[in-house]
């Protein structure tokens, strides 16, 4: 059965995956997907959208944000003070009301992503024990497709399997866990460090070879063990890594060691900006950028991809699965602090923060993020992110686009930040400007490829008809913050920021093939240490509304 | 006689079970209609087991049967009653901007009836 044909006519199309760089093309849509133009010239579309003079791109993909689940929801509860003064999201006849601030409510999250031309987003840090919660929130997050990464870097079963040198058991467990949570990819947050935090006051690991007590494993072993298992499970997105020592001066050596620990296996280092610092001992006088040194390594190692974690000036909320980091930040900012440890699995830290352009540290963080975009030569391996809301809101993406496409404006902003940035980073020397095609890569085509989403991030035949149509403008922030039209799975969902049809969106997850023989061992271990029953742990089909299993294949 | 006490309404197992059994069952009703008094206060005030007293708070007044608290569960000067219709009648409507009326630690005057 073919639904009605929908034609987007005469737009200037950017589709880097298929080598289309600003050419005038027609797009044909049926059943929510891109289809070939009918060969029969008498076939007329039921509907035509005249896109002449407009820029047509695939829908945006945010591959690293925090938008659902226990940590995000706690942050919503924790920060009433910012909502009262934030933009109001009003109820309409078909859409729910909501609240903004750094941590928007679920409905508002869906509407705002879609309003900005983003049609897919992945939450980056979910303890699998709370997976059910995420699926419930996803069901109340309309307009976008979504998925999440499962926290595994401090998982007891995994650390035990590494300790006992049982790679097959690790692999099977990882397959089971991703399936049980209906998650998308394994996520490592401060491998080993969160477990030490649970054991000791102010505890953490400090290098790749620190030993995690009781489990007798090191971060390096955890990274390597999971990288190998992910590869053998053929996960579409191998491994998402939040390295050790986030935010600490001098942490760039840890980051470099983490890249080396992959030993050529595929890995994505996330919010790399927060991991690219020189200097030592929290001394502001020595804090500096090591983006160049790290970017050189990335440029010569195609197994590695990154997203930036751009810092934007203003107030926001820090939220992380890195428990000791939350403690560190709350002491730095003297703010209210939430911390929660999840049994067998993970940690969590939340604290309000403010990035000030007069602060040397914050200004450098801002500059280092931009250095990363400008220093990675291959745009297919660097992805736009603010690590929403950690570096700033996802709502800042249009502003980042302008910073990357407009060198003059970038240098104007650079003049307003702490002047020492010019000495401690090389941002002032970088004159690269992104093209529209490159922006299209780092905001949709690239993340789709890195995530292994073959039907997203491009406009070829068979792709999901997730399409954003912009009115060109010299000021790229203006162009990108308010798309003319946003189309989701062939449906017109947004016109000029107003929601027309609040479609539900689907959940993307994986179901890797694994050795089911491991389940008996998992069950024994589970019943011994978890506070809920094994039978009640896996997320069942009835929690999945619209959803799609992404294949694990080469 | 009349004397000032501090009243602590709270949960009990019987009251909790009574919610499931039904609020109009005798078991539930008898549990929430029983005021625990420390044995020393019972003796001092010459209160008999099951005797009805009047409790008056700033907001309301109830009549309720007394029973001696077990062992040393209650210190003298403190009264206990299971949450329910009666305890709520002694609670004020003002929440002092918190949403929560003061529901424990209420000042009450206890009077013998008749």
């Amino acid at each position: 059965m073919t639904s009605s044909l929908f034609k987007i006519a005469g737009g200037t199309v950017y589709d880097p995956t298929n080598g289309v760089d600003g050419q005038v093309r027609d797009l044909w849509i049926a059943d929510g997907r891109i289809v070939a133009a009918p060969t029969d010239p008498t076939v007329r579309p039921e509907r035509t959208l005249d896109a002449s003079g407009m820029v047509v791109m695939p829908g945006g993909i945010d591959m690293h944000c925090h938008i659902a689940g226990p940590k995000v929801n706690v942050a919503r509860k924790m920060r009433p003070e910012e909502k009262r003064v934030a933009e109001k999201v009003m109820r309409t006849a078909t859409t729910h009301s909501g609240t903004m601030g750094s941590v928007p409510s679920t409905f508002a999250t869906g509407y705002k992503y879609a309003g900005m031309g983003y049609t897919t987003a992945f939450d980056a840090a979910i303890p699998p024990l709370a997976a059910r919660h995420v699926h419930e929130e996803f069901d109340d997050t309309p307009c976008i497709d979504k998925g999440f990464y499962v926290l595994v870097g401090n998982n007891h079963y995994i650390m035990r399997a590494i300790q006992e040198q049982e790679p097959e058991r690790l692999k099977a467990f990882l397959g089971w866990l991703l399936s049980a949570a209906k998650g998308y990819a394994p996520k490592i947050v401060n491998p080993g460090g969160v477990e030490v935090w649970k054991q000791h006051q102010g505890g953490n690991v400090h290098s790749l070879d620190s030993v995690v007590e009781h489990f007798d494993v090191t971060p390096r072993q955890i990274i390597r063990g999971i990288a190998l298992a992910a590869e053998e499970l053929k996960l579409p997105h191998r491994m998402h890594i939040h390295a050790n020592n986030l935010g600490l001066p001098g942490n760039w050596t840890t980051t470099l060691e983490t890249m080396k620990a992959l030993e050529g296996h595929g890995g994505h280092l996330t919010h790399i900006q927060f991991h690219s610092y020189g200097g030592g001992d929290g001394d502001e006088d020595t804090f500096n950028s090591k983006a160049r040194e790290l970017a050189e390594y990335v440029n010569s190692h195609p197994n590695i991809t990154i997203d930036v974690g751009q810092v934007m000036f203003g107030k926001t909320t820090s939220m992380t699965g890195d428990g000791p980091l939350g403690y560190y930040l709350s002491n730095v900012y003297k703010s209210k602090w939430f911390s929660s440890d999840t049994e067998m699995e993970a940690g969590c830290g939340i604290a309000p923060i403010e990035y000030k352009n007069k602060s040397l540290i914050h200004s450098l963080q801002w500059a280092i993020g931009l250095e990363w975009y400008l220093m990675v030569e291959d745009p297919w391996r660097v992805v736009m992110s603010t690590d929403h809301p950690n570096g700033g809101s996802f709502m800042a993406y249009p502003q980042i686009v302008r910073l990357l496409m407009d060198r003059t404006w970038r240098n104007d902003v650079l003049k307003t930040v702490n002047p020492l940035v010019l000495e401690r980073s090389s941002l002032g020397d970088l004159d690269r400007e992104y093209t529209l095609n490159e922006i299209c890569i780092i905001t949709r085509a690239g993340p789709a490829k890195i995530l292994g989403l073959k039907h997203k991030g491009h406009l070829g035949v068979g792709a999901d008809a997730d399409i954003t149509i912009y009115t060109p403008h010299d000021n790229k922030e203006v162009m990108f913050e308010l798309p003319r039209y946003v189309i989701k799975a062939g449906q017109m969902i947004v016109e000029l920021g107003e929601i027309r049809d609040p479609v539900r969106g689907k959940t993307l997850h994986v179901s890797p093939d694994y050795d089911h023989g491991v389940e008996a061992d998992i069950a024994d271990w589970f019943e011994k240490y978890y506070s809920i029953r094994f039978r009640n742990y896996p997320v069942t089909e009835d929690y999945m509304h619209e959803h799609e299993t992404i294949a694990c294949e080469e | 006689m009349s004397e000032t006490f501090i009243l602590i309404p709270g949960r009990t197992s019987k009251q909790g079970c009574g919610i499931s059994e039904g609020k109009f069952t005798e078991g539930y009703q008898s549990e929430i209609n029983l005021l625990q008094v420390s044995p020393r206060d019972m003796q001092r005030l010459a209160l008999a087991e099951g005797e009805r007293v009047r409790l008056t708070s700033e907001t309301g007044a109830i009549e309720v049967a007394v029973t001696a608290a077990k062992g040393d569960e209650l210190p003298p000067g403190l009264l206990f009653i299971a949450y329910g219709d009666l305890s709520s009648r002694l609670m004020g409507g003002d929440t002092h901007g918190s949403g929560m009326p003061t529901s424990k630690g209420l000042d009450v005057v206890l009077e013998k009836i008749g």
Binding site: P70, R76, K77, M78, P80, R91, A93, S97, G98, S105, T106, A108, L129, R132, H133, E136, E137, D140, K198, Q199, Q201, H214, S330, K336, F338, S339, S340, D341, T342, E343, M344, I350, S531, I532, R533, N536, D542 | G10, R11, S13, C17, I19, S20, T59, G71, E73, L74, P75, M91, G92, G93, T95, H96, S98, G99, M100, P101, T102, K104, G105
Partner: protein, 448 residues
């Protein structure tokens, strides 16, 4: 109540077994209950506590009408129509309760609150609402219950009486379990109880500190001072708190020596003078303690899914309770939009009460107001609130008759495994019908 506890082994073919069912009576949300079901009766609830057994054994199917309008039997459709008219026509409608139903139903209820521009509030506001406000002030250092089971070597209960309100907390989570780092279970832990009366929980404690009523705040600040090493005047501390300074110092020494300390606090703090300031003192003390060792705090939540209600209201509106939607977007203000207040001040002009009994639990002023306005009640049981409702729906019992999700007191989401069908509709079904109708009525108003 008939409970057949069979010890013989021959399987009864008419017996249905539901393994790892979830008890939703209290915030412990035990998910390890094995139910035996016969003829729509639960005849055995293995591992359930006294409250859980009473919960499982007393929710039979019954012949009460699905719906009553002004006390007269009515169809669900008529009930929904009348309810929708009441809510859509009101100037200041309020929705309240929600802590004893599934998240699926809660989500619809909050949606209704949005469409009608009303107030959404849950029983949190008269339970640990003050702790929620304290959390907004200072944050919270906490963990899932399994962390306590595996690591907690000093367990302090403050103003809570789990022996009567959460009977399996000791055995399942906090005192008895043999944990990963506590191989000897209870022997590896020290338990302290702080309360104004020597409750039944005192038997489980190694140390009982009986403080003066309404002095929790002062006692907690004594500990905060001792944590900092400040010198305090022994005579005034004992006079103020009712406990000698030496006992407080001993407790602080233990807290600092503990590897993983825990304070589990109850409504002894939130319902007493000081309220959110009492909770804030606990949360601040526990935060302070993390400069010396690992320490966590956790409110002992009462109702089976009150934690789910907090979560749902928060993810949909951004605020945990006491939310007003009358201006077309969510606003939050405890004391203003909380139900004890909107009723007692005579502001609400219509209400929908879901799985809660304000006619028994609220102040007289609030009850008087509720009795004077049209309101809708949904409850599996007959209560003073359902009896006086304009429209009363008899609904299926969550967890016994209906599937769905509940959140344990530590925010862990747990699925329900129903035992048998109910002749009554679920809260979710009634609310979904009501939401559709309310949206229609509101859309008509907009057009008209």
């Amino acid at each position: 109540m008939s409970i057949a506890t069979k010890k013989n082994t021959a399987p009864d073919p008419s017996l249905k077994i539901v393994q790892d069912a979830t008890c939703t009576f209290c915030g412990c949300v035990c998910d390890d209950i094995d139910l035996s079901v016969k003829d729509d009766h639960i005849v055995e609830a293995k591992r359930a506590c006294v409250l859980g057994k009473s919960w499982f054994f007393n929710h039979h199917t019954d012949t009460r009408p699905n719906c009553l309008i002004s006390g007269q039997p009515a169809t669900i459709a008529d009930g929904v129509e009348r309810a929708a008219q009441i809510l859509a026509g009101a100037k200041y409608p309020i929705i309240y309760g929600l802590s004893d139903t599934t998240c699926e139903a809660q989500r619809v209820a909050v949606g209704i609150g949005d469409w009608i521009g009303g107030n959404v509030d849950t029983t949190t506001s008269v339970c640990h609402g003050p702790s929620g406000m304290a959390f907004q002030g200072v944050g919270e250092v906490t963990c899932s219950l399994g962390e306590i089971a595996n690591r907690g070597d000093l367990i302090i209960f403050w103003g809570s009486n789990p022996a009567e309100s959460h009977p399996r907390h000791f055995t399942k989570y906090s005192l008895m379990p043999k944990g990963m780092f506590l191989p000897n279970g209870r022997k590896d832990r020290t338990c302290v109880l702080v309360d104004v009366r020597k409750t039944k929980s005192a038997k489980a404690a190694d140390i009982f500190l009986q403080i003066k009523p309404r002095k929790d705040f002062e006692a907690l600040w004594v500990l905060r001072a001792l944590a900092q090493g400040l010198e305090l005047d022994a005579a005034s501390i004992e006079d103020e708190t009712g406990v000698p300074l030496s006992a407080w110092q001993d407790l602080m020494d233990r807290m600092k020596r503990a590897k993983f300390g825990v304070i589990l606090f109850g409504m002894g703090l939130t319902m007493t003078r000081g309220k959110h300031l009492n909770s804030e003192a606990v949360l601040a003390l526990v935060r302070d303690m993390n400069a010396y060792t690992r320490f966590v705090a956790k409110p002992m939540r009462g109702h089976g899914n009150v934690t789910g209600a907090d979560n749902v209201v928060s993810w949909q509106t951004g605020y945990p309770f006491g939310v007003n939607l009358s201006r077309g977007y969510p606003r939050f203000n405890p004391g203003e939009y909380t139900t004890a207040d909107t009723l007692a001040r005579g502001e609400a002009d219509a209400a929908m009460i879901i799985a809660s009994d304000p006619m028994a639990n609220f102040s007289q002023a609030a009850r008087t107001r509720l009795a004077a306005i049209p309101y809708i009640a949904l409850d599996p049981k007959e209560t003073p609130t359902t009896r006086a409702a304009t429209v009363a729906f008899t609904t299926a019992t969550y967890g016994i008759n209906t599937p769905g999700t509940v959140y344990r007191m530590d925010d862990v989401p747990i699925p329900l495994r129903p035992a048998f069908d109910s002749p009554h509709p679920s809260d979710f079904e009634v609310l979904s019908q009501l939401e559709r109708r309310v949206k229609q009525l509101k859309a008509a108003v907009r057009i008209g």
